[in-house]
Symmetry: C2
Subunit: 441 residues, 2 copies
Amino acid sequence: MSKRQMIIGMHLGNGYGSQPGAWRMPGTDPRSYASFDAKVRQAQAAERGKLQFLFLPDGPSQMVDIEEEAPNFNLDVMLTLAAVARETSRIGLIATGSTTFNEPYNLARQFKALDVMSHGRAGWNAVTSSGEDVAANYGQRIPPSAHRYGRAHEMIQLVQALWGSWGREAWLHNHNTGQFAKADQIAPINMGGKYVASRGPLYIPPSEQGQPVIVHAGGSPNAHDLAGPYASAAIGASFTIEDARAQRAAFREAAERAGRDPDEIKYFPGLMTTIARDRRSALDRRIAMTERLFPQRVAYLQRMLGIRLDPDRLDAPLSDKQLNAAHPSPRDPRSAQALKIAREGWSLRDVLAHGVIDYHPVIAGPAIEAADHMQEWFKAGAADGFWISPDIYEDGIDAFVDGVIPVLQERGLFHHDYEGITLRDHLGAPTQYGLDPRISG
Amino acid sequence: MSKRQMIIGMHLGNGYGSQPGAWRMPGTDPRSYASFDAKVRQAQAAERGKLQFLFLPDGPSQMVDIEEEAPNFNLDVMLTLAAVARETSRIGLIATGSTTFNEPYNLARQFKALDVMSHGRAGWNAVTSSGEDVAANYGQRIPPSAHRYGRAHEMIQLVQALWGSWGREAWLHNHNTGQFAKADQIAPINMGGKYVASRGPLYIPPSEQGQPVIVHAGGSPNAHDLAGPYASAAIGASFTIEDARAQRAAFREAAERAGRDPDEIKYFPGLMTTIARDRRSALDRRIAMTERLFPQRVAYLQRMLGIRLDPDRLDAPLSDKQLNAAHPSPRDPRSAQALKIAREGWSLRDVLAHGVIDYHPVIAGPAIEAADHMQEWFKAGAADGFWISPDIYEDGIDAFVDGVIPVLQERGLFHHDYEGITLRDHLGAPTQYGLDPRISG
Ligand SMILES: Cc1cc2nc3c(=O)[nH]c(=O)nc-3n(C[C@H](O)[C@H](O)[C@H](O)COP(=O)(O)O)c2cc1C
Ligand SMILES: Cc1cc2nc3c(=O)[nH]c(=O)nc-3n(C[C@H](O)[C@H](O)[C@H](O)COP(=O)(O)O)c2cc1C
């Protein structure tokens, strides 16, 4: 009987790390944003830890203050993964590609080429893109949700049909007989719907995993409905174990509604990590990176806790009066955790340094705390694994790989090495080539 | 006074070579079509010869008989060049990208990312795509010429504007001051025309050459008009020295009409090579690869020469009667050369083996014959250099690099090493960042 183990991915982003100040820390090459060497090095570090996949979000857009912060995304996710594909051998490669702002033929072609290039390690995170910031780059406005998701369903079907249009056994390349391929197994698809159409075929033979894996990132009912019929993994963001359990269940139910086994879709909430010798060192590391943002975060924390806080008194813990008056905002799922940390008596600066206002749960402390958190969520049925965002890529990846991974391995929660070679193997995703016959378009 | 020298590029295609039978020759890996290792190896061989660029045509389409022939193109030109960029250091990387079937923002982003990744070696061959076969992949029909070329002009302008939208000096990444970039030098472009629009900016800093070089491939008046204002190189197909001289002049005149120095646009006709010890070995090599096609080529040769030919008598030379009756077709520029070869007394098979019906002039013989041909065209003002299609990539590249290149170098016609590091350096193209201020959209 094989024991269920967790699957771990890593966010591969702008070259610096998940914290806005990561780019200016000592030991970080400040040119990493434009450095493919840096991305490859970071991917290799994750592969050293036997992580199952890299996850590359994508806009393309920019919502940071570029005077002081690096853009959030990769220069180009496909070219980054092409470099990584050539210079790693096992880790899965999941890139985000918009279903709204790409031609299906172009997207199908690049993802399948990446899959061949990486010997079966590619995944497509199919998202509809929801920011006007992104739409403007295409001279457009964001279409209404029904349009976006209608197109997304058609896109995924069409792209998978193109992937299957070069028959799995069609390529003979027989030196002796001179037969290159079986022409009758490489055929047009002639598919067209309300939003997209293509004739095909796509002239790309299968990879070691057949075709790329479909992934989705989101948490709305739309996300569940899109992931349900197609996705092998859902990349999520949950702040509490309860929310993660509900999200995971929603994705599993959506898969079942589509006629699939719920185990075919894995749910991965995010986790941000600052792994250090002890809590104090971890907090100091985060303070060095993000203190610049603390004044605005104090203002935000006030609203989360429903009390007045003084941005000039970062050194002091919250007073009993403040702690008694506080009531966590039901509108922000991070509020309870923020109050819990404040009640432990940390200074206001340290409360913020715990990452109580960040995009995902934050572990700032020794490796064992990250392992405990992951174990708890995993055992509670809140996750099939996690996607990790280290604070700084360079030494933050190493700290995770050398600190947290061995603990999880000792506990039997994480594999000691890659068992398979493809992303499908790593995710336990079933074989699929072309359309899934169980799903109708 | 620096002597004018030729610039040489190489076609990097399907992994096998320019001849349809290349895939099944001994020494060829029959899986090269899907092998990025093969493409990288071929690119490295060209770089060993100090060639200035690789040229990757692109459909994406398929017009071959896949039962017996490999597709003509790369799985994906950008991913191929990403691999090549990481594993070569000097050779220029020119990929074809359709102005009709791409979103300008996506195309701008990938080419500039490739330029950064390759440290300033990227070029964009901007073509409008003219085949219904291509359009069908996008669920479309080919738009009328005026639409295609109207859009092409807008695309090139918009893409260049996006390239320039991250100011050349905007990126400071200053660890000490904490200033990442000058926000006021990274600005939206807000451009929109009749066909395409984008707000931008594109968040990619300059490469070592600023931004990719614009190239065009074609020979029609449309091609001249599109290349004139923008292109640093025109990739052509000319069968005679007269035609090449006329083509080169037409591109130069178009550049002048646009207010540029005619030397800013280089003209490169194609050349197909089978380099061997002697003519006989070269012909035998080509026969082994292409004899399968000779019956249909005999039929075609009949029309070129205006005489009856017997496909069952491939061993015999043309009779005096046939040679006297022959009159080269004015509709096919290859006819005169075909008759010249036939008059030399070669068997019908050998006449065809000379490549008299191929996409470009063919050199089948010792290295010195290729060098002589290139020298003659170059000295006659018919070319600024050439793009070479070796018959088989593997040993056909080596034969060119080790045979022809040293002869050209001895004659002072080709550089002994790369002088610069960027594609702009290799082409002698002037600096440009963003739009060319001399050209209005
Ligand atoms: C963890 C996570 C990661 C996401 N990554 C991306 C991304 O990389 N690119 C993107 O356009 N949207 C991304 N999204 C956004 C969702 O795909 C979705 O567009 C968003 O939740 C808005 O929902 P709507 O499309 O129903 O309006 C992500 C969402 C989550 C939860
Ligand atoms: C040497 C050469 C290479 C070409 N390469 C490509 C190519 O890779 N992709 C493409 O779509 N068209 C290519 N073309 C076609 C031209 O761009 C152009 O579409 C064609 O000559 C038809 O002209 P039109 O657009 O005026 O109808 C090439 C043309 C020449 C002469």
